[in-house]
């Protein structure tokens, strides 16, 4: 009976793995001409998996009923919140890809499957309550991601991105594993609840090293400074639909995983990791803001922007409260909407022959040649800068609110003052699009699916988004409560 119960709890993962294996066979027999059909089926599978996690989110599921396989796995409201964002981002990555890859005649049936398996891995990451589950999920996601980064095999930049991602990802995994082995060695368990109990009476030097190494490994995965160096190269080199995916789903998964590790495993020793997180948060904000200023490639700029955003999300973690966790989830949801909008706008940047354009200089005067695209991208930029009334402001607002409520006023003040540096390069993009004379390079027609997704994300980050704050806040609060609920 316990097994049946456990199998029921992990139903979304079962659906994804079974569907993934079947579609893999389909791909093997039908070949690349079936890739569009497989993509559509994968989106349907993700929609099905989303439907399966929604009840847990709505009911704010928590407690022993959500735990499976002897405490190795939890399908609570927190996991459901993260999974919904992951599945949504994965679906977007599937929808925007075919028009992009078709240009290079590189749309292959493996692409949707790799995204599906990555989503499966990420689902495991956010549900993991054991170091082993955590690592399996992380590697399943990472291995799929390395292949995705170098998906345009013929393109040197894409191959370089894949290799860099692999080498640095492997290094990060090694650091993480080392931290996990230390943690296991000094607590005698791989279970989060067990680690929490074992550390209840203080942290020895060995366990401290374990915590630090684990946080460093996770900081690699969320690309928080000072472990962010791979991000701009990988984001620039990877095919843009893959970059869209990297910037959204794995960020959500790794961030949720970090939260779970910080609160469920090391939640009893907040003082030990709080200063590390504070440092990483402020450094990410500053590095992300300063690094972006000199960029000439829009994808690199968005990479620095994501480092900057990770810094703001980590302020919520530094608050180390339930409100802080809820604020992080709200921020993540808004971040996904903004990032999808930003990268889909990049996908829409085509020259007259339909070749993708990534130069920031090519955006000059876009507002007179492509007013709709310019307006949407301007909204994304103001939103990323956190200027009200765009919805990006709300994300920053809630994390700073949590920081102030946790009496971290100096952190909030420094963080928000540093956000002004970031505003400089965001408004620079707006300046290039609106104030400069048209460069006339971006003239190509965009694909209808891209335009629809861009319009949807622009609508989400518009002031209308505020009408969703109560609903979003309630869901995030429920999810955060389940994260803090002891097993």
């Amino acid at each position: 009976m316990a097994l049946l119960q456990a199998l029921r709890i992990v139903a979304p993962e079962e659906l994804l793995s079974v569907a993934g294996l079947i579609l893999l066979l389909v791909a093997a027999w039908a070949g690349d001409k079936a890739s569009r059909t497989i993509s559509i089926l994968c989106v349907a599978v993700l929609a099905g998996a989303s439907a399966m996690v929604i009840p847990a989110l709505n009911s704010g599921a928590m407690g022993p009923d959500t735990s499976a396989f002897f405490g190795q796995y939890r399908a609570d409201a927190f996991a459901a919140f993260a999974k919904l964002l992951i599945y949504l981002s994965a679906a977007v990555a599937l929808i925007v890809a075919p028009p992009f890859f078709d240009r290079f005649r590189a749309m292959r049936a493996e692409y949707p499957l790799l995204i599906l398996f990555a989503a499966l891995g990420m689902g495991m990451m956010v549900s993991a309550t054991d170091l082993i589950t955590l690592y399996i999920g992380l590697e399943l996601n990472s291995l799929a991601a390395y292949v995705l980064a170098s998906f345009l095999r013929a393109d040197g930049r894409s191959a370089e991105a894949g290799l860099k991602y692999f080498v640095l990802g492997a290094l990060a995994s090694g650091i993480l594993l080392y931290g996990m082995s230390l943690t296991y060695g000094f607590t005698g368990t791989t279970n989060f609840a067990g680690i929490h109990a074992a550390l209840a009476h203080g942290v020895g030097t060995g366990a401290l090293f374990g915590i630090v190494f684990m946080l460093a490994g996770l900081a690699f995965k969320i690309s928080a400074a000072p472990f962010h160096m791979w991000t701009p190269d990988v984001y620039e080199g990877a095919p843009t639909p893959v970059t869209t995916f990297f910037a959204t789903a794995p960020k959500v998964a790794a961030m949720a995983l970090t939260m779970r590790v910080a609160f469920a495993a090391f939640g009893g020793q907040v003082a030990v990791w709080q200063q590390i997180v504070t440092f990483a948060a402020l450094l990410s904000i500053v590095v992300g803001a300063l690094g972006a200023i000199g960029q000439t490639n829009i994808k690199r700029l968005m990479a620095y922007s994501s480092i900057n955003n990770v810094g703001f999300i980590l302020i919520g973690l530094a608050a180390a409260t339930q409100a802080g966790a809820a604020a992080m989830l709200v921020y993540l949801a808004i971040y996904v909407a903004m990032t999808v909008g930003g990268f889909v706008a990049v996908l829409l940047m085509r020259d007259a022959d339909g070749e993708p354009v990534e130069d920031i200089a090519a955006l000059a005067g876009l507002s007179s040649t492509r007013p709709g695209l310019a307006l949407a991208l301007a909204m994304v930029m103001f939103s990323l800068a956190g200027i009200p009334p765009l919805f990006g402001f709300w994300g920053k607002f809630v994390v700073f609110q949590a920081a102030v409520a946790a009496h971290l006023v100096p952190l909030a003040a420094v963080g928000i003052a540093a956000s002004v540096i970031g505003a400089f390069y965001y408004i620079k993009i707006v300046k290039i699009m609106y104030f400069d004379e048209p460069a006339g390079r971006i003239t190509g027609k965009g694909d209808a699916s891209h335009i629809v997704i861009l319009a949807a994300s622009a609508l989400a980050i518009s002031p209308l988004g505020y009408l969703a704050t109560r609903w979003l806040g309630a869901l995030a609060a429920g999810a955060a409560a389940s994260l803090f609920h002891p097993l």
Binding site: I387, P389, F393, F400, V409, I416, A423, I427, T469, G473
Partner: protein, 510 residues
């Protein structure tokens, strides 16, 4: 009228019109914008007509729990009413000023202005801390675009400077607001206005709000964005910037800093006075040597705003009333002066003072209006400027005769630079043939000038119309400030009442 969400409607009308303008062609966009701003003006007049003087402190209140953590809460008192009236009064004039001079991307331009109007009304009507912040900050986006897209040669530098300066000023205010809401457990501005924060905390909160409002106001030495922004902005942009956006700083002081942190306000009054005194003297002297008309008026704005701040921090009724009247008057007068510059700029495309001269000969009607607005800026009795400056300085004189003495030199210096400007542009010989050939005001310009001129005279001759709605609110604020009022240096002491010598009884009674 009670229960009808007139304030929401006033915010909604320009928003809807802004979206319409984005998709309309140029002539339609102009008409849509004019009609929308006139509707808002009509709604504003209805608002004023239905405002119950002496009634409840907060009227036309609306509250809808739409958002997590804060409400869509609107409502006005007399102070907000007057500033909303100023905004809706100036907006149709701004649209008129842009009617011909804006030729490219008219729809987007009108949309930006209409968005600006919605946000300005929102700022003055917001009764929720966070709602106020959202409206307050959101104004950066349309103004950034107005300066950057339709501005002059140095527009990009000016737009960056405007955006980043104001943003940096404001973000710390957000942290202060978060702390206040956390401490007081409410985001309602009326409740917070009566909440007593601990004096130690007040100090930090006051400084955080000061950072924002001082930049917005702007006060010396953080005023440097203003001349750049004014000079580069299109005429209507300058009008709205000087007319209304600067007033948000003063409104912030009167709505937040003074009632919420009275002790800290008293404690830091010396800082405000010092900065204001420097501003009055320094920026007036700087204005005296400008070659660019817009820059001259921009510096005069800084000097006038300094009179507002000393009035506000005088901690008495005269000072507060004077500050409000200076704000309203400056909104009209500086707006009108920028319009006057715009009129001749449209003809000759230069703002250099020496390119003009002797305009009284070929533009007599223009010279008349320019004269009126110059005199109002100087503070001639009978114009709005006089009422405000007199009250402000009377207020501060009760507190510190030194501050009053230094600030009063501003009036003399103001007369110097304004009359000097007027003399160089309007009088003298017609040394430039092209300037001498400029036609006088046309009907459109006439229609823009006359309402402002009437407003300036009305406020100068019968200020009671404008003071009456604010009287109760200023009295309430004065009562709130009584606990912290600093001691004045005039050392008023009641003399010993002398008993009159008994009159000698009439001779007949003897």
């Amino acid at each position: 009228m009670s229960g009808f969400p007139i304030l929401s409607l006033m915010i909604l009308v320009p928003l809807v019109a802004a979206i319409a303008c984005l998709i309309a062609d140029a002539p339609t966009a102009r008409r849509v914008a004019l009609v929308a701003t006139l509707i808002d003006f009509a709604l504003g007049v209805a608002l004023w007509a239905n405002y119950d003087i002496g009634g409840a402190q907060w009227q036309f209140t609306e509250r809808a729990h739409l958002f997590a953590g804060f409400d869509w809460a609107l409502g006005i008192d007399g102070i907000a009413l007057m500033l909303i009236m100023l905004s809706v009064f100036l907006m149709p004039i701004c649209i008129g000023a842009s009617w011909l001079s804006i030729e490219k991307r008219v729809g987007e331009y009108m949309a930006a202005f209409l968005l600006m109007e919605a946000l300005m009304i929102g700022v003055f009507a917001a009764q929720d801390l966070y709602l106020f912040y959202i409206f307050f900050e959101a104004g950066l986006i349309p103004m950034y675009l107005i300066i950057g897209v339709w501005g002059g040669a140095e527009r990009i530098y000016a737009s960056y400077k405007f955006f980043l300066y104001t943003l940096l000023g404001s973000v710390l205010m957000l942290i202060a607001m978060l702390w206040m809401a956390n401490e007081a457990g409410t985001t309602s501005i009326p409740v917070l206005m009566a909440y007593d924060f601990a004096p130690g905390a007040q100090k930090w909160l006051w400084l955080a709000f000061f950072a924002s409002f001082a930049v917005k106001m702007p006060m010396w030495p953080v005023h440097t964005w203003l001349p750049d922004a004014h000079v580069q902005a299109p005429t209507a942009g300058s009008v709205i910037l000087a007319g209304v956006l600067l007033k948000m700083g003063g409104y912030g002081f009167i709505r937040f800093s003074l009632p919420m942190f009275p002790q800290a306000s008293a404690q830091f009054a010396w800082l405000v006075f010092a900065l204001s005194m420097i501003a009055v003297v320094y920026t007036s002297l700087v204005a005296l040597v400008q070659h660019d008309m817009k820059k001259l008026i921009a510096y005069s704005s800084v000097a006038h705003m300094a009179i507002v701040t000393v009035g506000l921090f005088a901690f008495n009724v005269q000072g507060l009333e004077g500050a409000m009247i200076v704000m309203l008057s400056h909104g009209l007068v500086s707006g009108a002066l920028f319009l006057s510059v715009g009129v001749i700029y449209d003809r000759l495309h230069t703002r250099e003072i020496h390119r003009y001269g002797g305009l009284a000969i070929n533009m007599p009607k223009y010279s008349l209006f320019f004269m009126l607005f110059t005199m109002a800026s100087v503070g001639l009795p009978g114009t709005s400027g006089f009422i405000g400056e007199l009250l402000s300085l009377l207020g501060i004189f009760q507190l510190s005769s030194w501050v009053a003495a230094v600030c009063t030199t501003g009036i003399i210096l103001g007369a110097a630079y304004m009359l000097f400007l007027y003399a160089r542009v309007i009088y003298g010989v017609q040394k430039n043939a092209d300037a001498a050939a400029m036609p006088d005001l046309d009907t459109r310009e006439w229609l823009m000038m006359v309402p402002i001129a009437l407003g300036v005279l009305w406020m100068g001759v019968y200020p009671e119309s404008f003071l009456a709605p604010m009287r109760a609110d200023i009295a309430a604020l004065d009562a709130r400030l009584a606990q912290a009022r600093p001691v004045g240096d005039s050392r008023l002491a009641a003399a010993k009442p002398a008993t009159a010598a008994p009159l000698a009884p009439p001779a007949e009674a003897r």
